[in-house]
């Protein structure tokens, strides 16, 4: 009997300890600004459900959304390539090379402003942009709606997702946005470290985080759990075509400080999304660190945040180790069978 009592006491103690650890982990996740919230926000008029996400996923992978029926959203935002394309800059309509890199759509659900130049605010606004853009999927939206209506299998999918609303530009955008809100980062070694696992990252990565938030000054822009301030900065990247420099945000906000400024990208899953920068200027994270260490290259209208950092070789390696720790475990993505 005493042995059983003792065993029960140990069991109770273990249960209490486990509950304490779980509670502490949850509290840490809720209060640590570097840890992602569990749920992505969604607008009240487009709350996600399984029918909307399923429809959105079909549309996302359906090349018939492009004029030539040969490009889908996933052609550029490829889940096998970090929801980007692995290219310096995107490839658009009729294989034309575009001026800017394809941004990952990972965690865009948390962004209050979308695109490199912030010309779209919500995922619903953004979803139709590349479809209609002449240089990208080049599909006139009225034609898109008629084409989707002609694919009989879509009628029931739209009706399940948006009862009584039909197939139109709004429901197409809402469905794609609903799917995009499911494209979230998975738990990374950095996250496990923040939640208390000291073995989750290397000592180099830990030093890198100190540099990231300190001497290297990275966190003034790459801040919070999504590692972006959703702000716009000219960081001195050389223009691919100096004769026709990309003005970036200036096209939306004609203010001096916005000339050559682009939105701060997330660093989540950064190891999967090379090449880096808005024009794919660098192939490695070390090249990115070197860029910031020398205070940028193109000094024209350079942000006053960008100054030479004077990092040594170990510090640069530590920053790279830290950024690599932001990449989560691979997530399996089902490519759906499309309606006919």
């Amino acid at each position: 009997m005493p042995a059983i009592t003792s065993s029960r006491r140990i069991s109770h103690a273990l249960v209490i300890l486990l509950a304490f650890v779980c509670t502490a982990t949850v509290i840490a996740a809720q209060t640590d600004p570097w840890l992602r919230p569990d749920q992505a926000p969604a607008p009240s008029d487009n709350l996600p459900n399984s029918a909307r996400i399923e429809l959105g996923q079909m549309l996302f992978f359906d090349p018939r959304l492009s004029r030539k029926a040969n490009m889908s959203c996933a052609s550029c935002h490829n889940p096998a390539l970090g929801w980007s394309d692995g290219l310096p800059t995107a490839t658009g309509f009729e294989m034309k090379t575009l001026a800017r890199a394809t941004p990952t759509i990972l965690n865009t659900a948390f962004n209050p402003i979308q695109m490199w130049d912030g010309r779209k605010s919500t995922l619903e606004d953004q979803a139709l942009g590349p479809i209609a853009a002449g240089g990208e999927m080049n599909m006139p939206l009225p034609e898109l709606v008629e084409r989707l209506k002609s694919i009989h299998g879509y009628a029931a999918k739209f009706e399940n997702a948006y009862p009584g609303q039909g197939i139109n530009e709004t429901t197409v955008a809402r469905a794609i946005a609903s799917f995009e809100r499911t494209v979230l980062s998975t738990e990374s070694p950095f996250d496990r470290w923040r939640m208390g696992d000291e073995q989750a990252v290397s000592e180099s990565a830990k030093r890198g985080f100190e540099l990231f938030t300190g001497k290297a000054n990275c966190a003034i822009c790459h801040s919070g759990y999504n590692f972006t301030d959703n702000g716009f900065h000219n960081i001195g990247v050389k223009n691919s075509d100096p004769a026709n420099p990309d003005v970036g945000r200036f096209a939306q906000k004609p203010l001096k400080s916005m000339r050559g400024a682009f939105k701060t990208p997330t660093l989540r899953d950064i190891a999967l999304t090379a090449p880096y920068m808005r024009n794919g200027a660098y192939n490695t994270l070390m090249e990115v660190v070197e860029h910031y260490d020398r205070g940028g290259d193109d000094k024209d209208n350079l942000s006053i945040n960008i100054v030479p950092l004077h990092l040594n070789a170990q510090e640069k390696a530590d920053l790279v180790a830290f950024m690599e720790s932001l990449t989560g475990a691979p997530r399996m993505v089902n490519v759906p069978a499309l309606p006919h």
Binding site: I113, G118, I220, D229, N230, K253, L255, S303, I304
Partner: protein, 111 residues
């Protein structure tokens, strides 16, 4: 018999006219930019007042308005620096930081 009062009446009238023509005392309003936010979301002021924006963050901020009431771009500036703008017209001015689009405030400008 009232002629002795005419100079006084004229002086009083002149004082009233002068007072009417001089704008009310102009005020200066200080607005801090800290933790990626303006310290106040709606500021009530009047024409002739001056707004002093101060950057209390560790990184650059900007102040601009493209409002019809009054537009300006005070540029980008570092921690501890200030930029000022004098209000020139009545109405509502929507103010933002170009670098951080989530930073917004309004100035309601009275005559």
């Amino acid at each position: 018999m009232y002629s002795q009062y005419f100079p006084l009446a004229r002086a009083v009238l002149a004082a009233v006219i002068v007072a009417w023509s001089i704008p009310a005392h102009a005020d200066t309003h200080a607005v801090s930019q800290a933790k990626k936010a303006f310290a106040i979301s709606v500021l009530k002021a009047k024409v002739g007042d001056t707004i002093v924006f101060r950057n209390d963050d560790e990184f650059a901020h900007n102040v601009f308005s493209l409002s019809d009431t009054q537009s300006f771009d005070l540029g980008s500036y570092k921690k501890g620096e200030e930029r000022t703008v004098k209000l020139t017209a009545p109405g509502t001015i929507e103010v933002e930081c170009a670098i951080h689009p989530e930073m917004k405030m309004k100035i309601e400008v009275a005559k």
